[in-house]
Symmetry: C2
Subunit: 253 residues, 2 copies
């Protein structure tokens, strides 16, 4: 049931080298590759097996331009809302809607209320399922050598109207997918010093909020490779695994 | 930048063979393995790089029992809410909280309002980020031969109180992680005929809601392997890739 070491390393490599891309080359995406990414998405877990995700492929150039306009309007609104970080934000490249080879809009379908299993107290689990589907695509795309970016800068109602969605449906992502010159060595917002990666032990508690975790945190902070741990090639580096970290590269590459 | 064929196959294998597990053996999880799963989670994408996820490891047996009681109460409330499918639901095994080797609670942290980037119109993108982190763990666990299940059957306020979370934090998942006798060949809710997998072309539109997609859907329906597509070992089977499908097994296994 356990994958062999090289297969385990490949899964971790996709996880650590995946990036939220905003820089693309305009080369087209092979339709068969796109289909594989969509199948990967469709095999995500979903609460009560409800499969709430819908994917709208944008092939109409005028429609892509209109989507870009929506994103650009929200980018400016976000800048205004950011206050003192406004200028810094406006210097960031936050999307590649016009350049990417493939543009998809992901939406939650309408008629979700009838799905109660796993959602009675947490109705937003439909979004969680769709996010898992998008993460599947992201990892598959990275393995296939394609970049992907999740843009959430848009007015929900405007995008719903633009694409003729029913009132109960909700767009949650504009996905830019395409070829890239290079993957960022680190998350672009880390490279651009917008934010830093938290130490992992700041995210780990034990038996209660803010209670420091003991054993697991120690292992996590050391990369999960303390003496006695099972060997797992490609995941032995300390914090900051990235494209440029040799240890993140599986054997043979 | 593209992974080699065997590494691509490993990523797809994790995606297609991952299952939402509810049956576990009580064998303990190696702490180093748990740490690797947590590092995989922490390297998920997050909106504006906000890293909203917090993980509470439950090692106290009494606390685990209390969490199970919360889940059981919500299971019964869900059954009541389901009406005519109540009996069918009550026959399903929906969680492995008491049996699994490791129990984690995942929560969104408090103080999220200050993160505006990518959340001005879609504040729930913090949940989407945390779901991507959980999907990373799920795929890494599958590669490591461990099962994982996401339980969302609980009263949010009661679990928040039980674990001493601040008011702004929100529990989103009880994660059961552990060794399993076998992974389900298909999603358990599909095996148990709770729901069926939708044809993928029912999830794909082009340029507008309900507008049938053309090329990509054809490729997706055929498994993304029509003539001219690049070879991708391990992803050539038609719908229903699973543990029992030889084509889902990478070379050498």
């Amino acid at each position: 049931m356990r994958f062999d070491d090289s297969a385990i390393a490949a899964v971790y490599r996709a996880i650590f080298e995946r990036r939220d891309m905003r820089h693309f080359t305009p080369a087209p995406v092979d339709p068969a590759t796109l289909a594989r990414l969509l199948r990967a998405a469709h095999h995500a877990p979903s609460v009560g097996f409800m499969q709430p995700w819908r994917f709208i492929r944008i092939t109409d150039a005028a429609l892509r331009t209109e989507i870009h306009s929506l994103v650009e309007a929200e980018r400016r609104a976000t800048a205004d809302a950011l206050g003192e970080r406004q200028d810094e934000f406006m210097r960031l490249k936050v999307e590649g809607v016009r350049e990417c080879g493939e543009l998809l809009v992901v939406a939650l379908t309408d008629d979700r209320e009838r799905h109660v299993f796993g959602r009675r107290t947490l109705p937003e689990m439909d979004l969680a399922s769709a996010a898992c589907a998008i993460q599947n695509m992201w990892l598959a795309a990275r393995a296939e050598g394609l970049g992907m970016g999740w843009v959430s800068l848009f007015d929900v109602g405007a995008l719903r109207t633009l694409l003729g969605m029913p009132a109960g449906a909700k767009p949650i992502a504009v996905l830019c997918i395409g070829h890239v010159d290079a993957f960022y060595a680190k998350p672009m917002l880390e490279e651009e010093r917008w934010a830093t990666r938290m130490p992992i032990d700041a995210c780990l508690f034990e038996n209660g909020w803010d209670a420091p975790a003991t054993q697991a945190a120690d292992h996590a902070a050391s990369g999960g490779t303390s003496p006695g741990s099972s060997p797992s090639p490609g995941v032995s580096a300390a914090d900051g695994l990235s494209d440029s970290t040799p240890a993140a590269t599986p054997p043979g590459r």
